[in-house]
């Protein structure tokens, strides 16, 4: 087994031991409860309400998973000094980072897929039609968290889990509002200030690209090109973030 895969597997199993997947059970229970409670009040819009709440919960649970698990898992290795044992073996720091990231991505993939399936099951049980756009929504939620996981790697490489969580929340919020910066840049009277705002816009993650709730509710199709662009953006942004995390990690000492 390759060292990277072994580290990823170890991280995944560690998340299992930390009971990360309890989120899945919690999500299913909340979904069932809410769909039963809200359907009579939805005035014929039960499907829309269930989808809205379900996709919102997927985003929140995924974000919680990243902030709790993503920020802790590298720090735990440093805090418990098990990183000394790992890096004393012929493991490069890039391999350590890749292993941890892939493990976290694995946890996210299983969790998001599980939550999407649970949402589909709740909808089917409630008698609503389940469309393929739900799978696309799940994929988009995963891509958003994929980028966020890479950002968590950068943050945890140089700061504490508490500060990393704080910054991560900030990036998540700003990332969803990133397009407002373009409007702001256009409104600024000083062109150089506008250019600075534009640079900031390009540096920030574009989480607005992965907001797909409305399309799912209306059963709108997503073109292959859109999906490809979303995937390519997530891969490029996460790659850049991991590169930065590697630079920070290589400069770190473990005494």
């Amino acid at each position: 087994m390759s060292a990277v895969f072994s580290l990823a597997r170890h991280t995944f199993l560690d998340a299992l031991r930390e009971k990360a997947f309890l989120l899945l059970g919690l999500f299913g229970a909340i979904m069932l409860m809410l769909s039963r409670l809200l359907n009579p009040l939805a005035l014929g819009e039960g499907r829309r309400v269930t989808l809205d709440i379900g996709l919102g919960l997927i985003a929140i649970c995924g974000f919680l998973l990243i902030t709790v698990l993503g920020t802790r898992m590298v720090h735990k290795e440093i805090d418990r000094k098990t990183i000394l044992l790992i890096l004393a073996k012929p493991i490069r720091r890039i391999e350590f980072l890749a292993g941890k990231f892939l493990g976290l991505v694995g946890v996210l993939a299983v969790t998001i897929a599980g939550m999407t399936l649970l949402l589909a099951a709740v909808m089917a049980l409630s008698g609503y039609r389940v469309e393929s756009s739900l799978a696309v929504a799940g994929l988009y939620a995963f891509l958003e968290l994929f980028v966020l996981a890479a950002l968590a790697m950068v943050l945890i490489a140089f700061t504490s889990p508490v500060l990393a969580t704080f910054f991560l929340v900030g990036l998540y919020v700003v990332g969803h509002l990133a397009t407002s910066l373009i409007d702001l840049a256009a409104m600024l009277p000083d062109p150089s200030a506008g250019r600075i705002v534009q640079v900031v816009f390009y540096l920030l993650p574009r989480f607005d690209l992965y907001s797909y709730t409305l399309e799912v509710m209306h059963g709108a199709a997503v073109s292959g090109q859109q999906l490809l662009w979303g995937g390519a953006y997530a891969a490029a942004y996460a790659g850049g973030a991991l590169l930065l995390a590697l630079v920070v990690l290589r400069a770190r000492e473990f005494s």
Binding site: A88, E253, F254
Partner: protein, 347 residues
């Protein structure tokens, strides 16, 4: 203060053993606190470790012994200086592949079993899949872990944890082992077992760098001892070379009503309950000893014992690092007078 390294030469004509690690002018300064205060730990350390030897690093807490190991592994970067490990740059993955490292504390995953720990670490050691099972079996046998394979790490005692970290270090069948306090906190049985493993490693031709505070164990295990003090190696050589001519003397015990002062000899301890005074008389000059005994007899003091002794590594360590008791010798109780007196020997 000793500023010069005391390196003892090998016998004339004996070929130089192949160096496993060579460190030259290694400096390390840590920055701590809000103001990034500089704390120098290593200040121009030079050290060569030869193939097939057990070299013990000896030094006070905070002398930089563990930092030195971490520099060799690339976990900590030297502020200045250069070195090679197995002919490769310090900390390079290829060098680490041939090195086994046992950290000071058993930094392991508490929720894993012994078997899972070894399997995980075997993957990280890049052991080919065909050799994986046999390597795990070999280290399990070497460290007598067979009965503990399914036990969770969090349930293991300190002794078993030390054995497991040693097994992890041995997994890749390394040429060179770095053992950081492998005997610390172990009961006598576990210490004997770990010492036996280290001896077997030497017999198998491995090179071992060992950090330990337990001086009798160092005396028993090490081929050479490097004394690290104030960031430098201040003495390096075999035990007998280090101690030659400096460790011989006599332990003198006299019975008197009150503490007795003798010219040129330091009192090591006095027990008022029994009236016993204990001195360490350095050197083997028979005339000086004769004069001293004559003076004792003249004063009418009773000599209870006069025993020729070698002081050993502990006294050498104290002398080289210029350690002295910070306060005058305390008065021991009658129960611990012997032990207390021996602990406070001052040459």
């Amino acid at each position: 203060m000793h500023s010069q390294t005391r390196v003892l030469a090998r016998p004339f004509g004996e070929p130089a053993p192949e160096p496993i690690a060579e460190l030259s002018d290694i400096h390390k300064t840590f920055r701590t606190g809000f103001r990034r205060r500089a704390v120098p730990v290593l200040r121009g350390l030079d050290l060569t470790i030869h193939a097939g030897e057990i070299l013990a690093l000896l030094g006070l807490n905070g002398a930089g012994k563990s930092t030195l190991m971490k520099i060799m592994l690339g976990l900590v970067k030297p502020t200045r200086g250069r070195g090679t490990l197995l002919g490769l740059p310090l900390g390079s993955p290829a060098a680490r592949a041939a090195v086994g490292y046992q950290p000071e504390q058993p930094y392991l995953y508490p929720s894993l079993s012994v078997r899972e720990t070894l399997e995980f670490m075997a993957d990280l050691s890049r052991i080919p899949s065909g050799r994986r099972a046999s390597r795990i079996a070999a280290v399990v046998e070497q460290c007598s872990l067979a009965g503990q394979l399914d036990a969770r790490v969090q349930r293991l005692s300190r002794g078993w944890l030390q054995r497991l970290t040693l097994a992890v270090a041995l997994l890749g069948d390394p040429h060179f082992l770095m053992l950081d306090e492998p005997l610390g906190g172990l009961d006598p049985g576990a210490r004997l077992a770990v010492k036996e493993i280290v001896r077997n490693l030497r017999a198998a031709g491995k090179t071992v760098l060992i950090n330990s505070h337990i001086l009798p164990d160092i005396e028993a295990l090490a081929d050479r001892i490097a004394l690290l003090h104030e960031g430098r190696i201040v003495a390096c050589g075999g035990l007998h070379e280090l101690l030659s001519g400096n460790d011989e003397g006599h332990e003198l015990e006299v019975i008197s009503d009150q503490p007795v002062r003798l010219p040129g000899v330091c009192l090591s301890g006095w027990a008022p309950a029994t009236g016993r005074s204990l001195w360490w008389i350095a050197g083997g000059d028979p005339d000086g000893l004769q004069r001293l005994l004559g003076e004792l007899v003249t004063r009418g003091l009773r000599i209870a014992a006069l025993v020729p002794r070698r002081q050993g590594l502990e006294a050498f360590f104290g002398r080289v690092t210029e350690l002295r008791p910070s306060s005058p010798p305390a008065r021991p109780t009658s129960a611990d007078e012997d032990a207390a007196g021996r602990k406070r020997r001052v040459s």
